[in-house]
Symmetry: none
Subunit: 211 residues, 2 copies
């Protein structure tokens, strides 16, 4: 069990939790100082005490990032939730994030999926079966306009059709390779393909596991 907090430390910790919940980011020392009606150095000292007692963790020197810890030493839930849009249809010309294209949003664990502006895409078909990606899975993607060899990417073919495949760059063409012997690898000219993102995770719900 952790050391107990003094009344003042508890007050500051509560304030911090509140602020982080609202703004997703910890307030600056001076902002906190103003709201708590004390000096910024006093806040710094209390933060230090909280860190020593294992209630928060701060990163690096001069860094403004601060995490609130669980009693197990884990990140507090408030900082782990990440809401990402589930994109229904990927298009080039049209705004990909326009609300019309949304199929809702998905809540994921920020501890597992780092990165910003992630989006999710519902997989159609079984062309990536052997990579463990099945029909109806949700692919968690990180926006990217480029790709490295062997990465699994979200690509837009002919500015129209969106697909998830493994990416290979050859001297004079791009190969999008499925992971399923029933499908053929396809080759494209450079101007036929637009990379939209890299797949960094998979979420499969109960429906994907039905018999």
């Amino acid at each position: 069990m952790r050391l107990q907090l003094t009344r003042n430390q508890q007050k500051v910790l509560d304030y911090l939790k509140q602020e982080i919940k609202e703004n997703k980011i910890s307030p600056s020392l001076r902002t906190a100082a103003a709201e708590l009606a004390i000096s910024h150095a006093a806040v710094a000292q209390t933060f230090k005490a909280l860190e020593d007692k294992g209630y928060i963790r701060r990163e690096g020197r001069y860094s403004r990032t601060l995490h609130i810890l669980d009693d197990v030493g884990d990140l507090h839930i408030a900082q782990r939730q990440k809401q990402i849009p589930v994109i229904g249809r990927i298009t080039a010309g049209l705004p990909m994030y326009a609300r019309q294209e949304w199929e809702g949003s998905l809540l994921v664990d920020a501890k597992i999926y780092p990165g910003q502006n992630l989006f999710a895409l519902k997989i159609q078909g079984n062309s990536m079966k052997n990579a463990g990606i099945l029909d109806q899975d949700l692919a968690i993607c990180e926006p990217r306009q480029y790709a490295h060899n062997k990465e699994i990417v979200v690509a837009l073919i002919h500015h129209e059709e969106a697909t998830v495949k493994r990416f290979f760059l050859h001297p004079d063409f791009i190969e999008l390779r499925p992971e399923n012997p029933d499908f053929r690898s396809q080759q494209y000219e450079f101007d036929e393909i637009l990379i939209q993102g890299k797949v960094i995770g998979i979420v499969r719900g109960p429906k994907g596991l039905e018999i």
Copy 2:
């Protein structure tokens, strides 16, 4: 919730919205620079900041198309977050929540994974590869002491070894079938097997997708 904008970034975003509304297309860097009375590179930097914070999205490299993004909209997240324990080792006695067996916790979307007392289990090995379950995946499980045919279950063999396999009940034995030709299906007496749960989902992080 997106990160807050600075006053300058807000000003540029407002200007952008205005321009796009009027001309249906975003202004060039130098046009914007002229109207905002700063250099074109400064505009580019602010655009980049806006993109990082998730307020706009720009397509491709050297493309002039830019989209204003909607907010993900934060309603009812509170009810959707579900924190479930990641079990390190499954034991028979069923004090599954005993502290020593913890490997942390996982935040999932309650909308996708309904049910109570769910737990997660880290998959070891590739015996279920053809069912789209890979090594190091996190299997989301619902506690259960029974199973139906063809369901993928968490079973305890000889009160010791925990395994994830497809379940088949035969007249005088239980079959636990892997989904990988490299592994053999196994048969057990009824008293050798204890069903501990049913797999209702899969969560795979970036590590599970590395090359």
